[in-house]
């Protein structure tokens, strides 16, 4: 598997650490336990396109959001997870 790192170029997936679905966003402190439980434990787990976190651990150390098809592993895009391109 080759992950197209926006900073380093296409690299073998071995250089990366995987975190999973990037769709859930961390709730505010006051949104309560239920909201956090959803965030921490529940996943759409789609069979198809997913946006997911990869960390270029053995490269530029950037967290990426990669768009990939979980049925074919085809990758459509990869961008920096941080808004400021960091």
């Amino acid at each position: 598997m080759r992950i197209p790192c926006p900073h380093c170029g296409a690299r073998d997936a071995q250089e990366f650490a995987y975190r999973g679905d990037a769709a859930p966003s961390r709730p505010d402190l006051d949104s309560g336990q239920a909201a956090f439980a959803d965030y921490v434990y529940l996943r759409d787990n789609p069979a198809g396109h997913i946006q997911e976190y990869w960390h270029h651990t053995q490269g530029c150390r950037a967290w990426l959001i990669v768009t990939r098809d979980t049925r074919t592993h085809a990758i459509f895009s990869a961008r920096f997870a941080g808004e400021r391109g960091e």
């Binding site: 598997m1 650490a17 309560g32 336990q33 921490v40 651990t57 150390r61 950037a62 400021r84």
Partner: protein
């Protein structure tokens, strides 16, 4: 010269004779031979016994699809089982043995299985051996296991060396037959970086055994020309003796190169290609008829290859049994190379060419519309029973049956990413669907069997690739070749066979087994495969699957397209497990990390322990000490009484810088860090987002915008990743940066009542008095011109410091510390003493931070800030995580001071019968306390902190431990913490 060696011709080097032995008999062959061709040249066909019935087996093919000729190669005491005679190049002194027989190949008593063949029908073992149950492991299974298996692997470590390498290319061409060569050449001319991979040692594929005219020249001449040009092009890499065995995601592939003369015997290639062409050709398929497994029954193309490429006659009187036009071409070629064809049997009534004339030319009998109903001869074909078009039977003496039942495109690689093959009525076999996007099949692999089509496909594929990659400046290449007939009329099985007819020769699957499986409801191809083991041998059904599925379709009344086929899975051909490991074995399984003081510790005679990839000094035995406990106790006592030094460089270290550094740390630690004063240090606890404890460490603040944090050795990488995530993903609003400093700083703990005096000796001008540099302080200074960092913090409960220098000066610093400490009786201590000291102080460490414990469990509940958001805050507040009845940290002391405690023991109410229902917790860490002169422990106990003083049963049945312990506060030394502030 060997009896069956043709006087002339072939690609063997007759000037280089090679000696080899098979089953102890010596033979001679030539350079360029395979073991199979050399055996055939010596008239040796019976080389193996079959898997189940131990029937005599010969050599069916001339390539990697071989199901029968599996042998064991011996290199001294090291043996390689299940090698294919057909792909093993002959070496001088090569020693091969037959396998799966006892006592010998010729007289195999296991052949008795053959007599019980009716009993051993497909799936028989699911229906018996069930009673009595106890006999399965003791009797039935051992018998089955001994009978099963092919070769024997001895317990010697694999001594071979496996290399590995990476390679990138624009166009990967798999297979160097006519199609692959045409494609590689055209692509290279167009300026592409081409990687051409061929499993054979020679390029050319079928051209190595056949004669054609290409671009007006003899195919052999054309082949030389192409090879020369490819070799001259720097943008082309050719890997011979290399099998591409797997396709992976995003243009990645894996191939295995066999190396004859290298330090390494094999090399694993990891390949990344922009485009890939599948030019793997096709495998000829046998015909299913009675006795079709006897030595002497061979694929027509194989007999042809042995005759023309290896100048080896398969036999004296060869019969060709073909349902294909290619079978006829093979017959002519065999005859032309000097072997004798006695008959051609073609079930088809007619063909597009004059078969009678061809037979006359060969001096062979023609049996049109006929078939073979039986074979006479067990260990070698002696004669055959022919049923002619009128139904009358003839017996014909013959010693070789050259069979051609059609061609199966070699599309395995094309299925590795999930593309399901589809049936083609045009070629009566399976081809790749168009959605097998990662490879483009060409030539025979695409079911285009004529040479002209193969060459055309090659050139076209190259042009497409060039266009796709923006190299369109060169004119397309065109090759032309002679026309040939390629029609096939399959005969899936001979119905009136008079003996067992085999579909899968390696696993002894017969046409009967397949109809039986269908009768028992195993009508999906996957069920058939699993129930009969069809195609599950080392050949992976290359010669058997299509016949098998055709017979299943017949038996279950479907058509083949509907019955379908299985998905080939990697590897395309078996690959030595060692090849995947490469150098990462034995001591090199994983890298080894050394601390900056490693050499120094070695000089001190330290015993080292693995901490992840790190080697850490565990203890430093001295003269006269007989066991580790003695050394560890001495080291720990030295710290309590004087001063000791321990290398803690393996701690994770991270520089956190920027205006929002404090804010980031407030977000990742449960306790606030932003209000930490510069020059001060604070203990910090991190949670996972699910509220459980993640890691702990110290946080030092050097300036307004500069923090420095440590993590445990085990969690260094995970915490760094966690910080990156919090910084980049969760809080991109914060202006802060992190840099790992784990490798940068050699860090030593200097602990004990005399530690200040020692450091003062090292840094005379620095004021580190208690007033100026109290507990939990940090400073930056210099020592002999190098940067130095000093922290006052304690893991041992003693007056203690951690001193850090850049790693390349770590050795010098360690030596200097010991010079300065000599007069204070400074003692090096290792990780064991470190553990003893922290357990005496009740500090939670790895055993307590198990990932299953919460801040409350570990006694850190009070740290949890209620004022702000931080990772894990909300989930940590759940009742289940704060329930006092959870297992929580306490200390243990044995009621009998002589008793030794062990970690992992459980704790039960005294007097209760041992059972999970009364389990009260377990011991996490133990130590022999030098201060108390008895064993102590930390434990996680149900509602522990509220049960101090209670006694529990210490229960360690797996180690025979048993006794009584008393629950106590997890601080055994200096509970008020005076020393640390002294």
């Amino acid at each position: 010269m060997s009896e069956f060696r043709l006087p002339s011709g072939g690609a063997i080097d007759r000037t280089k004779p090679l000696r080899f032995s098979f089953d102890g008999v010596d033979y001679e062959g030539f350079a360029g031979d395979t073991l199979a061709s050399a055996l055939i040249a010596n008239g040796k066909h019976f080389v193996a016994r079959s898997f189940k019935y131990h029937r005599p087996r010969g050599i069916l093919s001339a390539g990697p699809e071989e199901p029968s000729a599996l042998i064991t190669l011996a290199h001294g005491e090291h043996e390689e089982p299940n090698a294919l005679a057909t792909t093993t190049w002959l070496r001088n002194g090569l020693t091969a043995r037959s396998q799966n027989n006892w006592p010998s190949l010729d007289l195999d008593l296991m052949a008795i299985n053959g007599w019980f063949a009716p009993f051993f029908a497909a799936g028989f073992y699911y229906k018996t051996f069930m009673w009595p149950g106890a006999l399965w492991e003791r009797l039935y299974e051992p018998l089955i296991r001994r009978a099963a298996g092919l070769g024997k692997l001895n317990a010697q470590p694999d001594e071979r060396c496996y290399d590995s390498a990476h390679v990138f290319c624009d166009l990967l061409v798999i297979g160097a037959g006519p199609a692959g060569l045409a494609c590689a050449l055209a692509a290279a001319r167009a300026g592409l970086r081409v990687l051409l991979i061929e499993q054979d040692r020679a390029l050319g594929g079928r051209l190595l055994s056949e004669n054609h005219v290409i671009d007006g020249a003899a195919s052999a001449t054309w082949l030389e020309r192409i090879e020369a040009e490819l070799a001259s092009l720097p943008s082309v890499t050719i890997l011979r003796d290399t099998t591409l065995f797997a396709a992976y995601d995003h243009g990645a592939f894996a191939a295995l190169e066999r190396i004859e003369d290298g330090y390494a015997q094999q090399r694993l290639w990891r390949i990344v290609a922009k485009r890939t062409v599948l030019a793997t050709g096709a495998h000829e398929r046998p015909i299913v008829f009675g006795g079709n497994d006897a030595p002497g029954v061979m694929l027509a193309s194989a007999v042809e290859t042995y005759a023309s490429r290896f100048a080896a006659r398969a036999g004296d009187a060869i019969t060709v049994f073909t349902t294909t036009d290619s079978g006829w071409r093979a017959a002519q070629n065999i005859a032309n190379s000097g072997a004798r064809i006695v008959a051609v049997i073609d079930p088809r009534m007619d063909a597009s060419f004059d078969r009678a004339a061809l037979c006359d030319a060969m001096g062979a009998k023609l049996f049109s519309g006929a078939h073979i109903a039986g074979v006479r001869g067990k260990k070698r074909v002696r004669a055959i029973d022919i049923v002619d078009r009128s139904g009358s039977r003839h017996v014909l003496r013959t010693d070789i049956i050259a069979v051609s039942g059609g061609w199966n495109p070699a599309i395995g690689i094309g299925c590795h990413l999930g593309a399901r093959p589809i049936w083609s009525d045009a070629i009566h076999s399976f081809v790749l669907p168009s959605d097998a996007a990662h490879v483009s099949p060409i030539g025979a692999a695409a079911g285009h069997f004529s040479l002209t089509n193969a060459l055309m496909d090659g050139a076209n594929a190259a042009n497409l690739a060039a266009e796709a990659l923006g190299k369109t400046n060169t004119p397309p290449v065109i090759f032309t070749a002679d026309q040939e007939n390629v029609s096939v009329t399959p005969l899936w099985r001979v119905k009136d066979s008079n003996s067992k007819a085999f579909v899968d020769l390696q696993n002894d699957v017969t046409d009967f087994d397949i109809s039986l499986a269908a009768r028992e409801g195993f009508t999906s191809v996957e069920h058939l495969k699993r129930y009969t083991t069809l195609g599950m041998g080392v050949d992976q059904g290359k010669t058997s699957n299509v016949n098998g599925f055709a017979l299943l379709a017949e038996a279950s009344g479907k058509d083949i397209a509907e019955a379908g086929t299985i998905l080939a899975r990697p590897p395309y051909a078996p690959v030595a497990i060692g090849a995947f490991a490469g150098m990462h074995r034995d001591e090199h399984f994983r890298p080894t990390r050394f601390t900056p003081s490693h050499e120094w510790a070695e000089e001190r005679g330290a015993v080292f322990v693995d901490a992840g990839e790190w080697k850490r000094a565990q203890w430093y035995p001295i003269e006269g000490e007989s066991d580790w406990l003695q050394s560890v106790t001495r080291e720990a006592s030295a710290v309590r009484s004087a001063v000791g030094i321990c290398d803690v460089s393996t701690l994770g270290k991270i520089e956190v810088q920027g205006p929002d550094a404090g804010a980031l740390l407030d977000f990742v630690y449960v306790n606030r860090m932003s209000n930490l004063q510069p020059g001060r240090v604070r203990y910090g606890l991190m949670l996972r987002e699910d509220g459980f404890a993640l890691d702990d460490g110290s946080v030092a603040r050097f300036s307004d915008q500069h923090f420095f944090i440590t993590t445990t050795t085990a969690n260094a990488a995970r915490v760094m990743q966690h910080l990156d995530f919090c910084r980049q993903v969760l809080r991109p609003d914060l202006d802060v940066s992190t840099a790992s400093a784990t490798e940068q700083w050699a860090q030593y703990s200097v602990a004990g009542p005399k530690s200040r005096a020692l450091l003062q000796r090292l840094l005379p001008t620095l004021n580190i008095s208690n007033a100026v540099f109290p507990h939990m302080s940090a400073l930056m200074t210099q020592w002999r011109g190098i940067p130095l960092r000093l922290y006052r913090l304690s893991f041992s409960g003693e007056l203690a410091y951690e001193i850090a220098a850049p790693a390349h000066y770590g050795d010098a610093l360690m030596r200097a510390l010991f010079e300065c400490g000599a007069e204070f009786g400074v003692t090096p201590y290792g990780t064991e003493a470190l553990g003893v000291l922290r357990i005496e102080k009740g500090h939670a460490a790895g055993n307590e931070f198990s990932g299953q414990t919460t801040a409350h469990d570990l006694g850190f509940g009070r740290l949890l800030s209620l004022k702000r958001d931080y990772i894990g805050r909300v989930m940590a507040e759940r009742a289940a995580l704060t329930d006092p009845m959870r297992l929580r940290l306490v200390g243990l002391r044995p009621v009998d001071p002589q008793m030794r405690l062990t970690s992992g023991a459980h704790l039960l109410p005294i007097g209760a019968a041992p059972s999970a229902s009364v389990d009260d917790g377990y011991v996490t860490s133990v130590a022999f306390s030098p201060s108390l002169s008895h064993w102590i422990a930390l434990a996680l106990v149900r509602n522990g902190p509220n049960r101090l003083g209670e006694r529990l049963r210490f229960y360690d049945p797996v180690r025979g431990g048993n006794g009584e312990v008393e629950l106590c506060a997890p601080v055994f030394v200096d509970p008020t913490g005076e020393r640390v502030r002294g």
